[in-house]
């Protein structure tokens, strides 16, 4: 059995408190994970400056090259995992065993991580809009436009409170190291695997271990300490987490996406052409991602769309996690599945809601220590029905009948909208809608991510602040036309 220590700025720390994580089907013990406490976290974060300093000793291009090497190691190498070693296959198996995600989805998530690592230069070029990364390292510089620009790091380390149920989110923090910011990771209880394997890959690729801390532990204790002590943090959670941290400039909160496919009036008559796209958007990654569609909105044909989706999704049944054809992830805590199902049953009682997958057998497959929820399609006669605004941790979609001119007023906060329309006026409204984060114009599945574009905020803007910096003798100082060359003494005004 693996014994996994906490990592304190690169150094392993075996805690007296250990948490056992088990295989969700067999109950077999997979690992004992050292639990850190908030005191350790608070004390260590006080020394985060050292992590930033050591990363700043490397050029950004060097760090980018090293994370590229880490990609190869992450994908192919046997890497240290606590007191043992994991091959890539071991890793996928372990991750599947504790999170309930089918193994092939775990491998697919590995590939997503590798893609970002291997394309780091392009990713950062896109996120910084082509900024010379040396300017970030130095703190200021000239982009070649004769103007000094300055970017100031807002934290020495980014704190992350990571989820247990969605190994796909790790791509979001991978660019942090090349941005010369340290990492403080609080892994999800059941998903320590990616942070630890990534740490091992980083180390073997020559990235200083001292730049990374990993603190498994209780969310209310360790997670809270990470969020309090790091000047910039990301947290993944549910609606209550979003409510708690929304508007907090130091916390980027990621929660349910409520992602949707919108069929414009100009395209909806051809809905059958987009059925595959809709199925993929709902079913991929077992519906666990915030970018999975939980709604399909159209002004007409919604009953036929729902029936067709049910025809495709309804028969999908659980398979063993090692099966290549497995499309459903297990709830490793069966109470989550039964609780979710109870909520859905209540919502189904509302007039105007039709359970379109009813004919395909029971949705809740309850085992003693785990459970599945099979894909579900409901039809909503109007957008005011409660279930039209719901998202769950399994492939679930509401097909909502709504006039096009009322859609934007009713969809609510939405992470991804795939708008299937060529209507320019509607497209303009969609572009201007501030409650939509990612917008796909045209027949693109919601799950298709362009890694070169920001996701729920630009990471670079979150970590670095553009500010003024003037130096005597700098090019623009002497140029009165620029206004920057003649500093105005605001204290005199």
């Amino acid at each position: 059995m693996l014994e996994i220590p906490a990592i304190r700025w690169g150094k392993p720390y075996e805690s007296l408190e250990q948490r056992e994580i088990r295989h969700f089907v067999s109950g077999e013990s997979i690992a004992m994970v050292s639990q850190a406490g908030s005191g350790i976290v608070r004390r260590d974060i006080g020394k985060a400056k050292a992590a930033r300093n050591i990363l700043s000793d490397f050029s950004p291009s060097d760090l980018i090259a090293r994370v590229g090497k880490a990609a190869t190691l992450f994908r192919t190498a046997s890497l240290p995992m606590g007191n043992g070693v994991q091959t890539p296959a071991d890793f996928a198996r372990a991750q599947s065993a504790t999170t309930g995600l089918p193994e092939h989805m775990c491998r697919s998530n590995m590939e997503k991580n590798c893609f970002v690592l291997e394309n780091m230069e392009r990713v950062l070029e896109a996120l910084t809009r082509g900024l010379d990364l040396e300017i970030l390292r130095r703190g200021y510089g000239d982009e070649g436009r004769g103007v000094v620009v300055s970017y100031q790091a807002q934290t020495d380390a980014l704190g992350l409170v990571l989820p247990s149920n969605s190994p796909g989110v790790h791509t979001l923090w991978l660019p942090v190291i090349p941005l010369q910011i340290g990492l403080v990771l609080k892994p999800g209880t059941l998903e320590p695997w990616t942070p630890y394997r990534m740490f091992s890959a980083f180390c073997e690729a020559g990235i200083p271990a001292e730049a990374v801390s990993i603190y498994p532990g209780e969310g209310a204790d360790v997670g809270a300490a990470v969020l309090t002590e790091c000047d910039r943090c990301m947290i993944f959670g549910g609606e209550s987490t979003i409510e708690q941290y929304q508007g907090n400039p130091t916390v980027q909160v990621h929660g349910p996406g409520y992602s949707k496919i919108i069929l414009g009036d100009d395209c909806v008559d051809d809905w059958e052409n987009y059925l595959d796209l809709m199925v993929d958007s709902v079913l991929a990654n077992s519906g666990r991602s915030c970018i999975n569609a939980s709604g399909v909105w159209a002004s007409r044909h919604t009953d036929k769309i729902a029936a067709a989706l049910a025809e495709r999704l309804g028969p999908v049944a659980p398979l063993p996690p090692e099966a290549e054809e497995a499309q459903l992830a297990a709830f490793t805590n069966p109470q989550m599945a039964t609780g979710t199902w109870a909520m859905i049953e209540k919502d189904l009682e509302e007039s105007g809601v039709t359970d379109c997958t009813h004919a395909f057998g029971t949705r809740l497959v309850d085992h003693s220590t785990y459970a599945y929820l099979r894909p579900m399609v409901v039809h909503c006669k109007n957008p005011q029905l409660a279930i039209a605004a719901k998202e769950f941790m399994f492939p679930f979609v509401s097909v909502v009948e709504c006039p096009q001119n009322q859609m934007l007023a009713n969809i609510g906060r939405t992470l991804v909208v795939s708008a299937i329309t060529k209507d320019e006026a509607f497209g303009r409204e969609l572009i201007d809608a501030t409650h939509i984060d990612r917008l796909n114009l045209g027949p693109l599945p919601t799950i298709k991510l362009d890694w070169l574009q920001p996701h729920e905020g630009n990471l670079v803007d979150f970590l670095y602040r553009a500010r003024a910096l003037q130096t005597q003798g700098s090019k623009n100082e002497a140029d009165p036309a620029s206004g920057a060359g003649t500093p105005i003494d605001i204290s005199a005004s």
């Binding site: 005191g39 608070r42 004390r43 969020l227 309090t228 708690q244």
Partner: protein, 373 residues
Amino acid sequence: MVESSEQQTTSQTDAETALDAHVREIVRWHFDEATGCPYWLERAAELPFDPLTEIQSYKDLKKFPPFDDEDLRGGPMRRWVPKGFGNAPVYVFETGGTTGIPKSRIVIDDFRIDYELFSQTLPDEYFPPGSNWLMLGPSGPRRLRLAVEHLCQFRGGICFCIDLDPRWVIKLIKRGWMEHLEEYKAHCIDQALTVLDAGHEIRCLFATPKLLEAFALALEARGSSIADAGITGIFSGGTEFTPQWTRFATEELLGGPATSGGVYMTPTYGNTLMGLACSRPVTASDGYKIAYYAPQPRAVLEVVDPDNPDRLVDYGETGRVRLTTMTKEFFVPGFLERDEGEREPPCPLYPWDGVSGVRPFHKLADSTTVGVY
């Protein structure tokens, strides 16, 4: 000096004999019309046995039905004052983090007696007689506030206190106002640092684990430490202690074990009902295990089967903590605490059962907010 197993058995026997004698004395006091309190005298009439004749030993206390701590909520408080104390001044101490009507108990001298007994366990080397204390814990109608001050005074020092309202803290936690919680904690630590900086020659400290941690980290941020600040002994308690936290504190906040030059810290387990249970010496070689022993015969801690509280679990097994308090001021037989832990065997220092690994009872844990100050 190491005590032989024969000596220890003798000590245990002596302790049991003393406990039975104490039980008889206390039951006689509380159920005698001349000395007992209205609460127990009224209850006696409902009991299917006569406490004055049928309670002759600790074992006999099982005849009492389980004590319902809801009886401790609300007034009139005079129903708890034994007549034998006449018109002696009475304190009321309330439970710490409770919202709504708190549980409370009356005290006349118990807190002084308990803490004077506890004082005997504090080594003078680390708690120098005459030295001043800082009380970094709850203020208001709580026993700790006065008890720590009395401990300090009993040892010849002056106690400096902070303002800390644990009921506000619990509201902050329940409302999810974590930024306010951090600010309130910082406010408490600011008060402590102000006392420390004011030339009061503080040498000893009471602190809850969370406040001790915050205090130490605040000092570290100033380039100092608890040891650098001149503090040599810490009495800590009030909230849950874990071996891991104790290790962290010892290794990283206190400069190592006291035997190697670090600051001395003694964990305790206590509450308004019981008084104070001391820990046997905590060592790295024992995995920083914290085993508490009640101040017998004034209070008895047992680890019992939650489904059958009259059955002690075996040594090392987990059970619910059951507390019996027996002082002339307060009698509470067989109260099931909101905690669980492992039953510990007697040790030379405390020749009666103890409890280790104390944590919220798992069946109640979800409804318990711990670590409020």
